[in-house]
């Protein structure tokens, strides 16, 4: 039985990760990576020209967010979150945005390939072996105090909450939902945070938050960042 190859679009802030994964997946049967980007808007453009069968997206991107990618593309094809964080920490946000699955980097290439094939057939994909742990973390997050940035006294309590969520990779809409605010209010808070911290991008603000040692669990995504992130 022969199947046509599945075309994948990768959305991830690290070019070397995209290139590597593209190579590694090419050696798996019936898979090929047709494009990659670290930018939300570019992801939508690539999706319309390349018509991928499945999109894999990190949540924290160079520009925009993975939740934004999911909202833009979810009605065209399955969008599966592939995150450096623990999948339990982002599962509910991913599902709310319309993701077709939620996977972390803690799996070998071969298993990822199998999960992609499964997502292409319309199944919601998640690591079965860690399912209980994932659900425990996801449910713990519901009642949890929002992670804050106490090491930054120049911020108001609300701004610290918002920054904690920015550092977790949430976009304004998800933060608004979490804090029961309007997206416009969140936008204002984020603007004030950037101004007070003297930075220009959310990624920079997240880095400041993390370097103050208030990193919430599941923010491994940000730990890999070098000093040169930002608008590029």
């Amino acid at each position: 039985m022969r199947r046509v190859a599945l075309d994948l679009l990768l959305v991830d802030p690290q070019p070397f990760f995209c290139q590597s994964l593209g190579d590694a997946l090419a050696s798996q049967p019936n898979l090929r990576v047709v494009g990659w980007t670290g930018d939300e808007v570019e992801a939508e453009r690539l999706a319309s020209t390349l018509s991928p069968d499945v999109v894999l997206s990190e949540l924290d991107l160079r520009r925009g967010s993975g939740l934004g990618v999911i909202r833009r593309l979810a009605d065209r094809c399955p969008v599966v979150v592939l995150t450096r964080a623990h999948e339990g920490d982002v599962l509910l946000d991913a599902v709310a945005a319309g993701a077709a699955g939620c996977l972390s980097h803690d799996l070998p290439v071969k298993e990822l390939a199998a999960q992609i094939a499964s997502a292409a057939r319309g199944r919601f994909v998640i690591h079965q072996g860690r399912l209980h742990e994932t659900l425990k973390r996801a449910s713990a997050l519901r009642g949890e105090r929002i992670p804050t940035a106490p090491g930054l006294p120049q911020l108001t309590a609300r701004e610290q909450e918002v920054l904690g969520l920015v550092a977790r990779g949430l976009d304004n809409r998800a933060i608004a939902h979490r804090l029961y605010l309007s997206p416009q209010t969140v936008r204002t808070h984020v603007g004030n945070i950037l101004r007070k911290l003297g930075v220009h991008t959310r990624a920079d603000a997240a880095r400041v938050a993390l370097s103050e040692g208030q990193g919430a669990p599941g923010m491994a995504a940000l730990h890999i960042r070098g000093p040169s992130w930002g608008e590029g």
Binding site: P15, L21, D23, I224, S228
Partner: protein
Amino acid sequence: MSQKRTSVVVASADRLFADAAAAYVDGRPGFKTEATVFDGVRALTVVGRLRPQALLILGDQLPRLGPAPLSREVARRWPLTAVVILGGAEEGLATVLPADADGSAVLEALGSAPERGATEQAPPRADGVARLRSLTRREREILSLLATGAARSRIAAQLGISEHTVRTHMQNLYAKLECHTRLDVVRFAADLGLMSAPSSP
């Protein structure tokens, strides 16, 4: 004894990235991935056994032994193994690439063209001695400290001079030795037998 392909060990706490990067590097002409490891202690053991030409560390975290102490240990024990860290903090002898470096930058750092690797590892000896003679006493002191993997701040503290002065000495030293990275400097020192020999296999 020159090898045709640059042998590489990949280390990362990120299992998927390590797996994928290993496949990427192995698929490039002139490169061969010898092993993939997911923690720092294991990386040290494997590097000691395989003596790869390069150790590629992805990210700024590794279980059990972090990228910084790992790269210092590798530089001390096996100075001919180049250490490349993608997306980590500035660290002694390692070549540190920004997290958004692409594949060609990574390969370049790993020692892209085998010929280039060969000349770096075995500069003509007489030439090397002549270059060494051109160093001042202070520059030689700094060279010997660089070869131990000491950070600039430590060299400054040890010699009782400012970091800025160390930086100036290093610039002159690099220019005289025709080195571009700390790794070049260490290889230079190792080739001239200025370092304690790596423990035998």
